[in-house]
């Protein structure tokens, strides 16, 4: 294991990863009928070359914990209901990201009666990540931009003075 860790450390130095900013986004992924290429690239965004987690971008297990619903695929008829349920389970404020050309309703193949025209036909989309599939660096860049946008919004809220600590000295 130590050899593996040493190799990974050397790789990190070679790649020269950029320093992360502050804040975080919790992401829940839903596959609504993709070809698996977008999933593969989203998983790759966590590999040592991109290490999405160091930007505070974490894939979480439940929509209850999520800030962003990240959706792949054109939204098949059979995935419409589970997708809407996942969205309904999310706390406000929430963002919807469409990942890949299918989710954006571009160049769809398949039968009209089996699928919708992308995520926009069922949910309001805030973040659009194009590509067939978008490569991990494109995914990382788009999600970091979303994080930066969110950071600006939350910094306004921080104008309110923090509550007094009620711990005794």
């Amino acid at each position: 294991m130590f050899v593996l860790l040493r190799d990974l450390n050397r790789l990190r130095v070679q790649i020269g990863l950029r320093r992360p900013g502050s804040g975080s986004l919790a992401i829940r992924h839903v596959d609504a009928g993709s070809c698996n290429a977008c999933e593969s690239e989203l998983n790759s965004a966590a590999n040592p070359f991109y290490d999405l987690q160091r930007f505070g971008l974490n894939v979480v297990a439940s929509p209850r914990h999520a800030d962003v619903l990240l959706i792949t695929g054109p939204v098949t008829r059979r995935m419409r209901e589970p997708l809407l349920r996942a969205y309904a389970a999310m706390p406000e404020p929430r963002l919807v990201a469409a990942l890949g050309d299918c989710a954006l309703g571009c160049n769809l193949l398949g039968l009209r009666e089996e699928q919708l025209d992308g995520v926009e036909s069922v949910l309001p989309v805030d973040i659009r990540i194009a590509g067939c599939p978008p490569s991990p660096d494109v995914i990382a860049t788009a999600l970091q931009a979303a994080l930066a946008g969110r950071g600006r919004r939350s910094s306004k809220r921080q104008a309110v003075p923090p509550p007094q600590s009620n711990q005794s000295p």
């Binding site: 609504a32 290429a37 999933e39 593969s40 989203l42 193949l109 490569s135």
Partner: protein, 464 residues
Amino acid sequence: MKLEVERVPVSRWRETVVERVAGGSRFGSLHATDGGEVRVLLVEPDGQCRLLSTSGRRLESIVEEVGAASWAEREAHDLYGIDFDGHEPMRPLIDHSDGEWRVPVTGGGVHQVAVGPIHAGVIESGHFRFHAVGERILLLDLRLFYKHRGLERASEGAPLGEAIVYAQRACGTCAVANSLAYTLAAETVLGLESRPAIVRARTVLLELERLYNHLNDLSAICAGVGFAAGSMAFAALKERAQRLNRAIFGHRFLFDTVTVGGSRIQVSAPECRQAAGEVAAIVADAASAWRELLFNGSVQDRLRGVGFLTRQQAVRTGAVGPVARASGLEQDARTGSTELSYTGFRPSGLANPAGDVSARAELRHVELQAIGRLLAELLEDGLEPDQASGRLREQRMGCGRVESPRGETVCVVEGRSGRVHRFHLRTASYANWPGLAEAVPGNLLPEFPLINKSFELCYACVDR
């Protein structure tokens, strides 16, 4: 590949198929058509394919003797309304309109655990219903097809050369294998004969696809036991393999590299040798990471003795690819291939093909080394574009058979005046899912993700 079509009277359907399978042919796929035809593709011991065809909306089921046909008969029932006598109970496969879950396991203390269609990680959509006593799994019932896009039917009427996109987009991580299986079938229908330059380019693509997929599978198996260092080491190697794909062929998943009727790929000899060097480096690093896993007691302890698929189960369920080979079957569509460059190929095997997670992981490691040797040879020269010659007679039907990273994928294409009339793709994942359901019972619930990752099947390939 040319397909011998044999008409069988409906009264002799079951008898004939069963006779052939008992006589050494292997069940490949079964599909129905709008015209009420049911067809079975058989793979002969020499690798040639034969199609048995009958007409009728009601026929005798073959599942009792040919277990591998189970999902295909259910699919033909759901999509084409064919009734199979003796297939009891005929449970829906693609049709989800029956909201009720038919409980196949009853008894004291049996409970159900429902998982999906949305899973906890970045995973494709599908539903698993575990029937368990405490943590011990008694039965796993699968409900996939949440991602069904109707690709086969949507391709009907498209020109044979263009319909390749339907095969390619069926699955991103098997894009080369699926589009190549389609291409070999479509070229037979069009009467096109491939040439050596095209054959070599296609073989290179197929092996590069296997390279990044096998690295991905080993990474996933490490993740399945919670061994982050191993998972990340193999994920980094997968990244290098995909970057190589993009550097030489312009796409990380090699999309649009396989074309019907020729090859547009042009890679100079120095570039090829450079690529061969990077492949050799990746494979060497993978071997060193594998050695690390061997010396990690806690990883090995989790891999051994979990998720057994016996040789008999593998044969009965029609398992293919690394899964079948890890259970001791010497089956590989690359053996004796006449349409790709695999002269003298012998399938990888294990000294002890136990059929557990450990065996499936080790088989990936052994095959990675074999991929390195194959690619070193294939990439000695540059790749030149070429056109297939149209010297053969056009056919009504053709078939393609290739070894995808997950095993044998077969495709049948029926053409009519240059267009797709019926296109059927039976991917390796489709063949292997029933085997996964057999390997899980008897294990504990927390072992399931690991067993699942040792199969590493696609959902998109199955749902189409």
